[in-house]
Amino acid sequence: MKKCMYAWMLFLLSMPMIVFSQARQITGTVRDANGIPLASVSVVEKGTNTGTVTDANGAFSINVSRANATLVFSYVGMESQELVLGTNNNYDVSLSATGELSEVVVTALGIRKEKRELGYSAQEISGEALIQSKQTNIVNALRGQVAGVQINSGGGAPGQGSRIIIRGVKSLSPGKNNQPLFVIDGIIMDNSTITGGDAQASLRGMSNRAADINPDDVESISVLRGGAATALYGQAGSNGVVLITTKSAKAGKMRVSFTSTYGIDEVNKFPDVQSVYTQGYRGVYDPATIFTNWGPTVEEAKAIDPTHPDKLFHNYERGYIQGNQFRNSLTLSGGTENALLTSSFSHFKQNGVIPNSDYQNTSVRVGGQFKSGTLFKFSPSLNFINSGGYRVNSERYNEILSYWSPRWDVMDYIKEDGTMKGYRDNAVYGTYVNKFKDNVNRLIGSVAATFSPFSWFDLDYRAGIDYYSDFRRHAAPGPRGLAGERNFGDNGLGFVNEFRISNRILTSNVMGSFKKDWGEKFNTVLRLGNDVRAIKFSRLTSRGSELDIPTLLTINNSKVRSTDQHEEDYRIVSAYGDLSLGLNNYLFLNVTGRNDWSSSLAKENNSFFYPSVSLSYIFTDHFLKPDWLSFGKLRASWAEVGKDTDPYETNAYYISNVLTSSNQVTWTRGNSRGDQSLKPERTNTIELGTELRAMNNRIGLDFTWYKLNSRDQIIPVFISPTSGYTSVITNAGEVENKGIEIVLNGSPIKKQDFSWDVTLNFSRNRNKVISIVEGLKEIVVGNWFGYVGSTATMKYIPGYPVGNIYGTSVQRYYGSKADDGMTVDNSLPLVIASTGSNRGFPVRDLTQRILGNSQPDWTGGISNNFTYKNLRLSFLFETQQGQDRYNQLGNYQAAFGTAPFTIDRNDTKVFDGVLPDGTTNTQEVWMGQGVGPDGRDYTDGYYRNVYRGITENFVEDASWVRLRNLSLSYQLPSKFLRTNVIKDASITFTGNNLLLWTDFSGFDPDASSFNSGSNVDAFTGFAYPAVRSYLFSINLNF
């Protein structure tokens, strides 16, 4: 009754307005596709300045001035919607998720642009989609979701870094960063994986620094791929840009959101082993030999040694345990329209699948937004993070596991007095005593201010700091001198190494925007700005070894001590301009220019300018569009981006060492030769694309073709030490990347209670080294050990793609056919030796030939989203196809007789192939060690004498398809909550990496033996294995 009264009064009060100014009040509720009320949705009367936002219940109320007014509803991550008002005064509006018409995306420097205006491709991923996967590393959360982006996790270690490459490798320099720039709320943040100062760090799966970010804080991520998209970031953005926007508060009552996730991790794939033959050499049982599996059969060994177990252990399965992870995060936000505040707290802890490896991350974030009308806006933000943990050297772990005979239980590793148990170094004991820990304290802070004195002018200023200290400690005790004690080899006489790393990035960006509408048809926006960035890096390393008290882990207790220091300063100043022209809201032209002045180049070469042009044309808004096509856009762009070099690369230096015993300083010429005349690298990008939507936007296609040429590369080329240096830095070489990216999305079912959305992305990148340094035939990027010359090498050779893997192969019979000395012709027969100690076996070809390529032919992902009432199911398939990896584990397995195929060691066979004279091979050979049934002494046998020395045997197809993620969540209906305290609640089950299809014989080939900052991605085997995770999470909103 009361309501009725109010309504009447309201009606009466509004009568005069309707009469005199035709104003009336419109009310209503805005909900999302699931019917959940949306707060803070902007509601604006089109063509006026009148506007409001919805409250916590999604309700709004607005006074409109015109008779047939149109209301525009917009909300980040949702499709904006226009509503032409009829006679009703109350409307229920439903907004659906993005991917639709008037999508606003965050572009360079945080400028929000309508997607239709963009002359280049940009893809935005909502926080929701990211959180679903419950990935601990924000980079991994992007996996399979974005076209043109290749992500490989270094491995499954807690907190382990991941590598992200956009549109292929652009810098040929083996050590140079090819990963995109990370920007969080407009502030450049460091995403390096620091390994400097200690070789161990590169093998211990250190985090990429973006892993510090709490995924629950992220509102959305925009990925800028092309040159035109990133031109405003200058050289820092030449590898693409990942823009992270964090969640901000919405006006109204205080909101509290709590999420708790618990999960378990397990290794998703183990290598196979043979379980017939036990420890020994040449068939003779020996429970102490290094030869883990060249002995007799288990039965024969048991007859000799009654303590021999009935079954051999599977060392890899035995050496790994179940890991777990636990994350809690709490977000509190609220405020008024003019003063908003948000804060979040999160804690994450993960225990790894290798014993004694862990990681934790604690994050506290506070952000605010303060407004003084429309004139002034001020947003400060501060994020403190503490992260780190015990990192295990998985390469060494798996290597020592491979030396450990499965006749012994690797988990039986410790004696009562705490010393190592076993007949040789035990891998598990190693992780228990030889420990490496990092402890990062990081502060990311920013202030952003916008001053809007006129409707046509805004002034934006943003300043930020990203500072962290990283204290690392690598320590191990020495032997205690106990009777019968066995020391873990890597510990030596005990040592303590301390690393103190700090890095500070300061940024300052000022930008003025001038907007002008030239009548109905034509509008312009001009932006001018200045950007300053200063980076200061510092590292102090102190090492002490040979501990006096074997178990006291402090440098004070060491006999031999050394210290070294490294300081680095880098600064860059830029001026830029950006002009946007719009015609009739269907044709948009954008021109940018930027000039950088960099400190790392000599004065004559340190200023460099580069432009970009992009064009967007929405032809469906220009011509009469066919009925079936709801939207059609063509886009084209061209851009050039320059790139400088790292500090102090313009010279050669001398390095000092001290002779501890006499305190004399010795000097030696440094290994790297710099160059005064270094000039910036240049990357030119051409990009063409189209966006099409049909059937009422139910189906959409985004297609992009691009070509990137990176010239004048600054490359530290590894050269022969006989030259006087081991590397020389020079401007030379060109690499080309070209490819296509396709994103298809559709909503096959869209009903009130049931909807199905599907997104498919496909990317193909082809690259080629066009040229390298004059006088040089190849650049060695990296190599990885293999027995007897089977080391695999990654090299850049002109005319061949980046990522080629080289090594020894089985000799092919060329006969009269020409041999190019570079490729392996698989159509030809193998050459079998007819003389010598290896007669009857395939001949090793020592020429370094191409055996594979580490880059995928194509990558793709399919994500599906089903909602049925309160249930939501999503799953994502991801694939990388056509890449190869050198499997070091396979090489060791062959050498030690653990590989399943070595089970044929008691067989006699004839190898397919021809003798060096071309006639068919008919020689029978025995596959075992020692004297064979034919009386011939096969010494170490085929697998050790021949097979393990051929790299080709261990370069495997590492293509994979995986069910990257499956997530099922249930939104508890409000009637179950029976309380006003909890507004909504949901529970989610998530599975990551649940299924894997691959022909690769080792662990999951996704892991890499090199750290996430490295360009060397061709080698795996002993890397920290990938994990499969099952996670359960609960989300409560108060």
Binding site: S600, Q664, W667
Partner: protein, 470 residues
């Protein structure tokens, strides 16, 4: 607040002062672009000594001083080993010697130039003796990224030229800078005494010339001339005794004591020393090897590896307090004893048996004196029937055997072994050998085949003979 202040400062620095100054931060605060000449001399004399160790750590397995604790270890069994580390160290040292000489020329310091040339000759000779052909004339300056290889014989001649030029420079007076002398001298080998450098140059010359014993270039007169100008007593030896922390052989012994197994004595060596093979206990053995738990000395057969756990003294190792492997033991580069054995060999080859026998005895005596063997034990050994054979009974085998004993761990012994076709009494192929004949050379290291592949000469096997070993 400091952030804001800093940013204001940045803006001010841009507008008021010049942008140029703000960007002028590219001077490396960590390292200089030139080095002090004495710092280079310290480095090169230190590293030359260490290079002798690095090469010796490989060749000692080939001449069966040492044996690996691991069964069928690649080094023991003549498998191809990648000596990239040793190769790089040698070239790193020669690069610094190149800079040292350059600075010497610029400063008019003939002493430094002369020492640089002799140091270069020593290091190049190590390269030459392991690999033969190697970059020299095109190397070190950084001008060529893929230096060409000089023929082995060219390198041999370059070594001889360096020796002669070095002697010439050291004989000049009026060096603009003199090498500081005394205990803190940056010259770790001869403490700035140029006369001793001249002797070392001649000693190296004698060593290189005797290496030609299998070739037609063998010239006894030239060797005697060089010997006359070389060392006259053990006081003249070229060695270093200043280390970062410890003598590197002590590092091996200490690591082994800490269960990082290495520095195990070969069965062939122990048997030759403890009387098993030749009937007399060599008094030098207790100053070199550890006793086993059984109270005796036992070696490990090359290629066989350990019999037990390897950590309970079932075999003999380099002693942490041994003459060659204590923390402060001198690391010998060229010695007086070697000169005496060269004299013995050349005199023997020229049928001067008396001179040969005298030099042979003096070589043994000098080595024992140096090691501090008491006169009675020394003379008992010298007078034992297996040694005191008299001029008429002297054999080449005996000269080589005693030289092998006296030059323990030194790389030059492998040169001898190859010249002598491993003719030591009872010397056998290692167990599990991957070759059917003795090892003759090293294959080029991976760092060269991968980075300078086009220039690297083809080597098919470690049993190919170098030019002086045909």
């Amino acid at each position: 607040m400091r952030v804001i202040q800093y940013c204001i400062l940045i803006i001010l620095s841009l507008t008021i002062t010049s942008c140029e100054k703000f960007l002028d931060v590219n001077t490396n605060p960590n390292s200089p672009t030139t080095a002090p000449i004495n710092g280079l001399l310290l480095r090169t004399t230190n590293q030359t000594g260490l290079n002798v160790f690095r090469v010796g750590d490989l060749t000692s397995y080939y001449v069966q001083y040492l044996a690996s604790p691991n069964a069928a270890s690649p080094t023991d069994t003549y498998d191809q080993v990648d000596a990239s580390g040793t190769w790089s160290s040698l070239y790193d040292t020669m690069t610094d010697i190149y800079d040292l000489e350059k600075q010497g020329i610029e400063a008019g310091a003939t002493q430094y130039q002369g020492v640089a040339k002799i140091l270069m000759a020593i290091n190049l000779s190590l390269i030459h003796n392991l690999w033969g052909a190697a970059p020299y004339s095109n190397a070190f300056s950084g001008q060529s990224l893929t230096p060409a290889y000089d023929e082995a014989t060219t390198n041999f001649n370059q070594i001889m030229t360096l020796i002669d030029e070095g002697i010439g420079l050291l004989q000049q007076s009026g060096s603009a800078i003199s090498i500081p002398t005394g205990a803190t001298s940056p010259d770790l080998i001869h403490k700035g005494v140029t006369a001793n450098w001249i002797k070392t140059a001649n000693a190296l010359k004698a060593r290189m010339l005797v290496q030609l014993s299998k070739t037609s270039q063998f010239n006894a007169t030239a060797i005697f001339t060089a010997l006359d100008a070389a060392y006259t007593s053990i006081a003249d030896d070229a060695f270093i005794s200043t280390f970062d922390v410890r003598n590197p052989w002590n590092g091996v012994a200490v690591a082994n004591a800490g269960q990082i197994l290495q520095g195990w004595l070969s069965e062939y060596y122990v048997d030759a020393m403890d009387g098993t093979s030749f009937g007399i206990m060599d008094p030098r053995l207790p100053l070199i090897a550890t006793l086993t738990q059984f109270g005796d000395y036992r070696g490990t057969p090359n290629g066989k590896g350990r019999i037990g756990t390897g950590i309970d003294d079932e075999e003999s190792y380099l002693s942490t307090t041994g003459f060659y492997s204590s923390q402060t033991s001198p690391l010998y580069i060229i010695t007086y004893e070697e000169m005496k054995f060269i004299e013995a060999e050349v005199a023997f080859r020229t049928d001067d048996k008396i001179r040969a026998y005298n030099a042979f005895q003096e070589g043994i005596r000098a080595n024992m004196n140096k090691m501090g063997i008491d006169a009675a034990s020394r003379d008992a050994y010298l007078n034992h029937a297996s040694v005191a054979v008299g001029p008429a009974g002297l054999t080449l085998e005996l000269i080589f055997r005693e030289k092998w004993k006296a030059l323990f761990l030194q790389p030059v012994v492998w040169d001898d072994a190859r010249r002598f076709n491993y003719g030591y009494e009872g010397f056998q192929l290692p167990l599990n050998a991957v070759q059917s004949t003795f090892i003759r050379r090293l294959v080029y290291p991976e760092i060269e085949t991968s980075r300078n592949g086009a220039n690297v000469p083809t080597v098919n096997s470690v049993v190919e003979n170098l030019w002086w070993d045909q």
